[in-house]
Point group: D2
Chain length 292, copies 4
Amino acid sequence: MTPAPAPAPPITRLLISCPDQPGIVAATSRLLTQAGANIVRSDQHTTDPRDGTFFMRMEFDLVLSPPERAELEASFAREVGAPLEMQWRMSDARVRKRVAILVSREDHCLLDLLWRRRRGELEIDVPLVVSNHETLRDDVESFGLTFEHVSVERGRRAEAERRLLELVHDAPVDLVVLARYMQILSGELLEALAAPAINIHHSFLPAFAGAKPYAQAKARGVKLIGATAHYVTERLDDGPIIEQDTVRVTHREDVPALMRLGADIERTVLARAVRWHCEDRVLRAGDTTVVF
Amino acid sequence: MTPAPAPAPPITRLLISCPDQPGIVAATSRLLTQAGANIVRSDQHTTDPRDGTFFMRMEFDLVLSPPERAELEASFAREVGAPLEMQWRMSDARVRKRVAILVSREDHCLLDLLWRRRRGELEIDVPLVVSNHETLRDDVESFGLTFEHVSVERGRRAEAERRLLELVHDAPVDLVVLARYMQILSGELLEALAAPAINIHHSFLPAFAGAKPYAQAKARGVKLIGATAHYVTERLDDGPIIEQDTVRVTHREDVPALMRLGADIERTVLARAVRWHCEDRVLRAGDTTVVF
Amino acid sequence: MTPAPAPAPPITRLLISCPDQPGIVAATSRLLTQAGANIVRSDQHTTDPRDGTFFMRMEFDLVLSPPERAELEASFAREVGAPLEMQWRMSDARVRKRVAILVSREDHCLLDLLWRRRRGELEIDVPLVVSNHETLRDDVESFGLTFEHVSVERGRRAEAERRLLELVHDAPVDLVVLARYMQILSGELLEALAAPAINIHHSFLPAFAGAKPYAQAKARGVKLIGATAHYVTERLDDGPIIEQDTVRVTHREDVPALMRLGADIERTVLARAVRWHCEDRVLRAGDTTVVF
Amino acid sequence: MTPAPAPAPPITRLLISCPDQPGIVAATSRLLTQAGANIVRSDQHTTDPRDGTFFMRMEFDLVLSPPERAELEASFAREVGAPLEMQWRMSDARVRKRVAILVSREDHCLLDLLWRRRRGELEIDVPLVVSNHETLRDDVESFGLTFEHVSVERGRRAEAERRLLELVHDAPVDLVVLARYMQILSGELLEALAAPAINIHHSFLPAFAGAKPYAQAKARGVKLIGATAHYVTERLDDGPIIEQDTVRVTHREDVPALMRLGADIERTVLARAVRWHCEDRVLRAGDTTVVF
């Protein structure tokens, strides 16, 4: 039996990044405490106490009506956010993120996400699954979800991207997940999405970027293969890394065996990255990430 | 070349445990900020936001003369510690912990600790190494350290423990490390030490507690072997666990091979536990630990 | 896209255990080579070259009609098996094992096996899924498989076991997999099954045998949790271990989080054990196993 | 106490690579068995049963006088090696390999090798340690070993390499280990060494080849760092990989912390690679290796 989920407490998450200086924790926690919040978790990181960037994530426990919530955000902006030059956002942990999944023909990452969602492990809504192939329609529909086929024909990528964008905007979504979607997204599309996108790459980046990473790994004779979940940027296979993992292999594994072992790592790494993103645990820090 | 250590900043560490309630972070950070401190790292954990125990570790950056330091501690005790029923302690990160190491005849854990210390990885002082055998005298002395032989003869354990206690008290030390010391310490001795003791057990506890864990593991046919570093209590092989790790084995490894593979895990796990303890990152939580 | 499986070559697997003595490899490989076989893989293990037990697994490539196959087996028995006191069996790698899966209400191990089978990763047939609950009927039937509900009522276990046995014998099957089946099988049933049974236990055995292992692990404060796949014997949670793995946890994970993390390990470990068993890679060696 | 080593049995190791074809195992094992050998371990690998390269390693137990040994090798060459177009070698497991270690100023890989050797874990002789710095002289001499300083001055590399070569040839040695030796060896030197060379690279190759891999890893924000032991070829950081491993890191680790964590992986990976090479378990296969 799936463990019965505890009733979700009224948790709010606050994510901050700002220039480091004394007093950030004190100012933030004083304002929240005065508002009646109980801080139940706090993580922070500074790249350098003297001159660096400060990152913080707090979870606090506070029942607020929508107007009270707006008031809290306004006073936080005024009294803490602006004076300390923060980039910040608050989110209600009980509001599930809306996620669009893009996929080609490999099913392992997609099905793992959908299965974790159904099981209550991944508290997301999936209003949309898009594929450039029909292959996985039945699988997706068996979960009661919407499957859209947007074929990407040679020379007509712009058209496909317009259709994709339309679907994503109609959904609408907070996050786009590329669960082995074997098409490159243009910079224009990425910008127009207005939501972050997470990709799973089937190698331990930066090793074996590009095509056929398992064949590259076999040729190079590596003793571990891996997978990498990263935010998508215009630079292919080069966005900020959220999560990676590896598994040991030997000379015995041929390319199909590497693909099979790798598939297990891919689905696990992608599921972690999506989970962490949707729990507001990932902050971008230039070309890297802070994962609390 | 060993990486040149950066000049240690004037970091103070504050460790707290107390009944959870709103306002702990705010009260603590306000007082520290008013004293001029910059909080550079903060970790917290609560066993339950409603009714649990709250644990926190803060690192802050503050130059204080000894009287100023005493004053800060007094005002913290009065304004924060007492009202919130805290157990707490502050420690200066630049003051190296003094560690006594007890060992029998196996050298791998001992030498790894001494080597890491010499290399600057483990910022501890080792005023004393005690063994119930002469075997490792030369090794210890080659590091310029004091080696004392306290033989433990059958039926004369009390006498040996008195001698051991005398040496430890004369050192004196903040921590006792049992680096494969194959004698049981009596409850009286543990209490009289007046310092915590960390032991390395050569199995993944609670599996294979007691003697000859690698032989037990071979007989049981496990596919992973492990090691466990834990605080020593009167109950043998049963104190709060600080760190554990495992390594994969197969039917090919006989007991000596398991011992060899296990030795690598033992030394690594013990070094991590000692390091974390000496960085004030470990809090006891009943029969378990919180490691920040 | 799932990697297209290569056409299965006509591989035969030979598994041997016998008292160790000189000449086993030579006698075996000579007979096979004379029969025209090409040995494409060979693994062996001896517990002791002087006085131990010898285990070997060979894969050879040979096209045989059924009568030729029978003849090969007869000559192997006569010329090699009997003189060297071998226990041995040959199996055709192209013949898929028939597997019955028993499950209660947790779906993660079951679905992972079915999904791997559908994807071509696990070359097994599943003529039968039995559960003591109705919960997972739809899931199983959505894969086009037979689901049977055999409720186990207090005081009427014998009746339930008779029904279970009937179903298994009617299937019939080569292997029974307990994919989180929360009922104890009697010694009589195990014997009557006439097929090996593999269980997944949700701890790193022998630690935390028995009920509620994740709650036990939390109380003990371990830093790694694990899962164990083992052959089922009459002694609960004590049969020969096929595979184990662990994952790192901290004080932050509560029991539901441990269950969630553990579920990932359980399904992976069970899938490996079933795969290895069905590839004839596991030999029992007393209370342990040899996994080639 | 270090486990007492069992008296080494008279084991001979046979390493083979040849074009795959039926009958290799049979021919080899028949000849060895007729000579009175008991094959106690056999591993084999084929890149493709139809058209590939076949690799095999056998350990057999046989007491031979030197003339008997020469005779066995001659008959093996005549009856098996030549007809099957084998590259092969036999080696006596009781004869310790002679290893020269080259090092610059980092001590962790060097000391770990020397410590494992002294402890009986690594059955090698070390007739020579060479460094381009004086830093580690005392450490090496405290193990009773020969330390030679060969400084490498700008523009005078050829001279340094001549001196190095002289020392290595005088030793003489079976293997050269670069235990964090921060100089590039010329192709001429590599050829003149007439012994294989193993290097440890402080990254998970092919990621972060070249200089300052930990700084590269930090900038790229990877979530795992690693180390790679490989045979040295003329192409820098590009020889056949023998062993690799990784360790998990987070945004918290700065470059010195990555270097510290990485040092543990480096020394472990290098020690495994040296051990496996010296146990004749590594065969080169083009740009990759087979490790039995």
